[in-house]
Symmetry: C2
Subunit: 210 residues, 2 copies
């Protein structure tokens, strides 16, 4: 059985928990609190030298980091991955877009404005840049969604899961979605998918039941 | 035949040109100058709404953006991609790491310090952050390379190409690699691979021969 190291309020971790829920995959969950330095312990850094969650123990002692690589791995040959080759890489390119254009801005704003006490004051110098670049990324998504129901393969895939993770909390960290009607409709479509779970939902497992 | 929209001094574009050279794949090259706004024209934005190069025309009218998605696409079932499933996703996770931890810092420093006239003065406020986070990413790479010759599958793959693109010009944009001996050895190993080409190397094609 897989073991997932995850933080409850992390969008990147939510991606994997959402995909597992929709795929009906059972796994052990180990809750990690970044704010308590639990990704910076010598033990955790042995598992993942970059010190990030999520982290998936694929087989005993073999670890896969990076939320979108984990998503692609667990979705292989499932309905969450496009079947057609070019569609599969189209999903992948949106997942790279998410990591270099959306997450660095919306993810940073989410972390510092909602999870870290006093984070807004600490990051005041960076906020304007996150807003500007975050809106640019949302603009690219809006343009795509004005003509497409989903990001790849004309159906719900891991590309949607990757982009949903931070887009669905944008309004909680200063971004206004009033001018992004296609994104708002898409958010609703994603939330209406079978077996959808919220960011706060966690499976009860040995580790997390305590 | 593929058509690649590429900028000569872009590390992200270099990845694709290097892989094509090593795979012996012929393609049309269209040189794009970001600094002249050529990725912001209505025509280019129709092809890639995010306005980035590289961009690969996979089949007539069908475009794949994002350097690392292009790399993964063109390397499918070639020696540049790991054969084993978990190794393949291990390569992929390093490619996500490259996009969220290395490229945003070394890539930004490369662009503003070497390509944009007066860029250092314009970006002075951001430079300290790029240096700090860039060194963190190089630290993660050094730790891995102290124990491994390459990033995934114990051999040269697209993960190495992705990370090499900006790591090999780190010394040209303020990063000192004196304390990263394993990275320096790996850079030499990558440069010694068969059919390696430099960032400045361009194939002569109809479009680029002019």
């Amino acid at each position: 059985m897989y073991t997932l190291y995850s933080m409850r309020r992390s969008g990147n971790c939510y991606k994997v928990r959402l995909a597992f829920a929709q795929l009906g995959v059972a796994y052990n969950l180990i809750e990690i609190d970044i704010l308590k330095g639990e990704t910076r312990t010598p033990d955790f850094l042995t598992k993942n030298p970059s010190g990030h969650v999520p982290l998936l123990e694929v087989t005993p002692g073999r670890y896969l980091p990076e939320s979108n690589a984990i998503l692609a791995y667990i979705a292989t040959d499932t309905p969450l991955a496009p079947a057609d080759r070019i569609d599969r890489y189209d999903a992948l390119q949106w997942m790279f877009f998410e990591q270099n254009s959306l997450q660095p801005n919306l993810g940073a704003a989410w972390f510092w404005l909602t999870l870290v006490k006093g984070g807004r004051e600490l990051q005041m110098h960076a906020l304007e840049d996150w807003m500007e670049k975050g809106y640019q990324a949302l603009g690219v998504m809006e343009k795509h969604l004005a003509k497409n129901r989903f990001f790849a393969a004309d159906r719900y895939t891991i590309a949607d899961i990757a982009l949903y993770a931070y887009a669905h909390v944008a309004h909680e960290c200063d971004y206004e979605l009033d001018n992004f009607p296609a994104i708002r409709d898409w958010l609703a479509r994603v939330a209406a998918q079978p077996r959808h779970v919220s960011m706060d939902w966690h499976p009860v497992t040995e580790e997390s039941a305590g």
